[in-house]
């Protein structure tokens, strides 16, 4: 190597580091104004050509950078603009990453977020109130496209309940028991309604199918069983006081029941550390007969089973939750996932156009099936999934659009969904969650796991759980 080349090679990064370091270090406070200036320039020059729509998201799009690019291009083609998709891996705290980007003054037109974070963003004035635009909109203002209860859910995140700061991304669905219906049929079992009947089903699964009856992911998914004693997940407000129902004496019988499952080998012992992906794998491979998961996953599980070579008879079906003595049941709905428009978005009108488009048929097709030519093809008006499309299971962020006018073009790939969605609508509720919940939840899970594993009696576990929550002031009484 020539000396001069070498010097250039070696010194470039270091020098660049030095120069950049010197240039930026003293100016961190003014950085935001600088970048704001830069963004304005961007808008001006963009006005002459095509504007760029920047979307920050954690769940929409394809699986690979190339697919994401195609996904972005598809949006751009529809809206006549360039689209930049900032994909944050859903693995680690999307919310924090989003906050950091917004805090750093990064210019984003549309952000994906969830109810609890939306509340924080709206409170801080980081996102735009869209109420009047939504009311005027032919798409979003149409209750057939977005029913009123979705708006009510989103309004839970508005400061003082006023204004609408976001638009739903998808029908969120609920967590409900999903069972191997083929086993149920084969063993001649009828739909369980009480905890005892559920227990019998599990016992049969163990005896006859040599499988665990149930798997869980810690206490993430016990709501359909807490339903038997009428307790809700998260917080409950009563006379202005917050309590956590899972930490009350009323929950004791359910912990006792779960412990009985564990002690008798009916509950998958990996439940404490299972991720929900683990649960799905165990269910698909026939190691467990039941788990609790999203309604939208019922057809996805059925499709996966047939493409991935699970048991030929495999048939997943959703079940109603265990019912209380009054015949009522509860399943918890997911935190609404939404799109919002940051207050400093450079292209607000375009951003809103995207939100509308997302809830029209082409948007719904993109969000579910995926990108034309990559995930599916159309000939003579008939849709056909490619192998990539089959692998991705019609989930590109919006597997089950909200609109009542939406019809999935592959009814045969929707096996079990109608029943599951009906259960979610009949028994579903939105859990009340606040900023403390993540920490409180950890305490609940910790003692709950102890109770299920038998390290504490259910009574002790609830008492200690309650005391710990009280000590850290996560509940008021």
């Amino acid at each position: 190597m020539k000396k001069s080349q070498l010097i250039a090679l070696v010194s470039t990064p270091a020098l660049a580091g030095l120069i950049l370091g010197c240039a930026t270090v003293p100016h961190n406070v003014s950085a935001s104004t600088n970048s704001a200036g830069a963004a304005e320039v961007n808008v001006k020059s963009a006005a002459a050509t095509e504007p760029t729509l920047t979307i920050a998201e954690g769940v929409i799009g394809g699986k690979t950078p190339q697919e994401n690019q195609a996904f972005a291009n598809a949006i751009g083609a529809a809206l006549h603009c360039k689209v930049k998709l900032i994909s944050v891996p859903s693995t680690d705290n999307y919310d924090q990453q989003l906050m950091t980007m917004l805090g750093a003054g990064q210019k984003i037109d549309v952000v994906y977020t969830e109810g609890s974070t939306l509340a924080e963003l709206a409170q801080k004035g980081e996102v735009t109130n869209l109420q009047s635009e939504i009311e005027k909109s032919k798409v979003l203002g149409n209750p057939k496209v977005v029913p009123q209860w979705e708006w009510n859910n989103i309004k839970l995140s508005s400061p003082n309940g006023k204004g609408i700061y976001a638009v739903p991304v998808k029908y969120q669905g609920a967590l409900m028991p999903i069972v191997r219906q083929d086993w149920m049929k084969q063993l001649g079992l009828s739909q369980p309604k009480t905890l005892n009947q559920y227990y019998n089903v599990f016992e049969e699964f163990k005896k006859k199918e040599n499988a665990y009856g149930l798997t869980l992911s810690s206490l993430y998914d016990i709501e359909p069983f807490m339903s038997a004693v009428g307790l809700k997940n998260g917080y409950v407000e009563h006379n202005g006081k917050l309590t956590i129902p899972y930490a009350t004496n009323a929950a004791v019988p359910v912990y006792a029941w779960l412990h009985k499952l564990y002690a008798n080998g009916l509950l998958d012992p990996n439940f404490v550390t299972n991720s929900t992906a683990d649960e799905r794998n165990e269910f698909l491979s026939g190691r467990v007969g039941m788990f609790v998961y999203w309604d939208a996953w019922v057809p996805m599980l059925n499709n996966l089973a047939s493409t991935q070579g699970a048991a030929a008879s495999f048939d997943a079906e959703a079940l109603p939750p265990a019912l209380g003595p009054n015949g009522k049941g509860l399943v918890s709905k997911g935190d609404t996932s939404v799109f919002a428009i940051p207050s400093n978005a450079p292209n607000k009108a375009l951003a809103f156009k995207f939100l509308e488009w997302w809830n029209t048929k082409p948007g719904e097709i993109l969000g579910s099936l995926g990108v034309k030519g990559i995930d599916y093809t159309v000939s003579n008006g008939k849709y056909k999934l490619t192998s990539t499309g089959i692998d991705e299971n019609m989930d590109h962020g919006d597997p089950e659009p909200i609109s009542s006018e939406w019809k999935n073009p592959f009814p045969s790939l929707q096996k079990g969904y109608a029943n599951a969605r009906a259960i979610g609508i009949k028994y579903g509720y939105q859990p009340l969650i606040n900023a403390n919940w993540n920490n409180a939840e950890q305490i609940v899970w910790q003692y709950g796991d102890d109770a299920i594993l038998g390290r504490l009696t259910p009574q002790q576990a609830v008492e200690e759980m309650h005391a710990a929550l009280l000590k850290d002031k996560y509940i008021s009484q």
């Binding site: 010097i7 270091a14 580091g17 805090g103 998958d268 550390t273 910790q446 594993l453």
Partner: protein, 311 residues
Amino acid sequence: MSTSEVVQPHRTKTLRRPVGYAPRRWKRALPLYFMLLPTLAYLMVLTYYPLVHAVVISMQDFNLIGNRPFVGLKNYENVLSDPNFWGDFRNTLVLGVSILTIGFVAPIVIALSLNEVLQTWLKRSVQMVIYLPHLFSWVVVGGLWIQLLAPAGGLVNAVLAVFGVSPVQFMSDPQVARWVIILVSVWKDVGFNCIIYLAGIVGINPSLYESARVDGANRWQEMRHITLPGLARTMQVVGLLSIMGVLRIFDQIFVMRNAVIEPKVNVLMTYVYDEGFQQMNIGQATASALLILVFTLVLTIFTRRLIRYDT
């Protein structure tokens, strides 16, 4: 601080050149400075500047962008009054001391045991095999062991089941999980340290053994009175390196922890990470990191004094 921290090979006598004019000397040294430039730039920008900046950040209510008001020593107060910090401090001590003790003894035992093996091929093979895990990342090692220790479908519990032991919740019983962390940590490095000891054993003067045999010493006495004392210096090196490593434990915990065992296995470095990047309490996290840095320095100086690495 002295340069003698580095083991110096025997240096050939340097021929001292007559010192010319000072300017000529500088001119001659110019290419040398050029060669040092990237290193100095790196140290300044990515080591010392962050260090100094850390002191500033630790006294600010730090936001990545926006206001960064000075709050004096508030962050330090918050750290020192945070029960989680002290909990993680305790965990670090418990894990650290256990890993140090077991991790110190185990490779010596294995090295001595290997030394007794007469079949060279067997000795070689075992050496090759036990050294493997040292090369693997914590993601790999953690992933393997989490899988192996699963209550259902894990190899270890399957073996235990043969002996009639009911499934052990290795990764979800905090007390057991602590031991898992300790033993897996020892497991990963035992082979590497063992090889260092073997290298040390090879370096022991053979005539010592000869004369011991003439005096009628048996194998046990040889090991006790020649091999072990002969390894004293190697022990110092390995011991020192391990001590330095203990306060830095991060990857292993990051990979192997889960919500249930966190209170018992989180360590100081995960505290810094969680506080800084999960809770976004950057000021407080930085303050805690500086406190840990001070612990580290004190510990380093203390141990260096104690075992006089440089003699």
